[in-house]
Amino acid sequence: MRLLTHNMLSSNIKGVVNGFPLRIEAVKVVEKTVEMNGDFLKKMFDKIDWKAFVVASQAMGYTELPEEADSSMLDSNEFLNRFHHALLELHLEEGALVCPETGRRFPVSKGIPNMLLHEDEV
């Protein structure tokens, strides 16, 4: 699971007011290179929650992203490369996503997070 997907996910447990972002517990992270698409990155920059993205990337072991970012930074190739790398090239293979309010762990195995809720959580 890549961080672009992580940025979309939240905990939907009954009673949780704000289930975003899920905290990442990284046990195994794999890097896979993929071609960069600058236009796509610029489009995604407006959509993602940057703060959650930075925290998530740090949990994955990547510390090269600036804590804050604005769209003018998209003109810099260096920034784009780092953005691309963290967003699309880091894969969480094993670990967990943790609900920020309840602490409930959603396990991640073979890159697939299991977001299925138990009966009492729906």
Binding site: K32, N37, M44, L88, I112
Partner: protein, 207 residues
């Protein structure tokens, strides 16, 4: 990529070895899957460079088709872990980068561009087909492409427009869904079901 080429690649994918009838697991055949994605891309530009979600992905046919047609990021969601494992292997075989999530129908945090799906028809769990449409319309910012039995056409249209607030609900074409003899209750060797390829557009004031 040409239609025939896409159809050929999809034909090589592994499908459900032990389909679960309660989940209405039926493989989306390469003929129908390729035409569905080709229409979404060539008529509407809703696939290449977009973020696409495949709801109820099963073994990943539609999501993989989207990736092959240039979707920038594909997320495949299904409730069944065995199907997801097969989908992962299928994507690996074709060297495609896709993310998989095991979940029930889930409302994602932010909008993807396009949702593609071959939802359960609701023969096991009544209303399942429209449950999928309801969530898809919340998750997609541009369009939802979905297959539904032609026999349900009026009901689907009414519900999408009136109850789910879609700004439009159009049948793009009618296709034949070939259902092979998969389950014990299937009597015929193969049956063709008339299905509609729908395009639902969410209400335009969604952020």
């Amino acid at each position: 990529m040409k239609l025939k080429q896409l159809e050929g690649l999809l034909g090589g994918l592994d499908q459900f070895p032990h389909p679960k009838v309660e989940l209405e697991q039926y493989p989306t055949g390469p003929h129908i899957a390729s035409r569905m994605l080709f229409t979404a891309e060539n008529s509407f530009g809703d696939v290449s460079d977009k973020v696409v979600a495949d709801f109820g992905c099963g073994c990943g046919t539609l999501g993989i088709a989207a990736a092959l047609l240039g979707a920038e990021h594909v997320v495949c969601i299904d409730i069944d872990p065995e199907s997801l494992e097969i989908a992962t292997l299928n994507a690996e075989e074709l060297e495609l980068d896709m993310d998989f999530i095991q979940s029930n129908l889930l409302d994602l945090g932010w909008r993807v561009d396009t949702v593609i799906m071959n939802p359960p028809f609701g023969t096991r769990k009544k209303g399942a087909d429209l449950d999928f449409v309801s969530v898809a319309l919340k998750v997609a910012s541009q369009a939802v492409y979905s297959l539904h039995k032609t026999s349900t056409r009026d009901h689907v249209k009414r519900t999408a427009l009136r109850d789910f607030g879609a700004s439009s609900a159009e049948v793009l074409c009618e296709l034949r869904f070939d259902v092979p003899k998969l389950y014990k209750f299937h009597k015929k060797k193969e049956v063709d079901i008339a299905v509609d390829l729908w395009q639902f557009v969410p209400a335009s004031n969604q952020s």
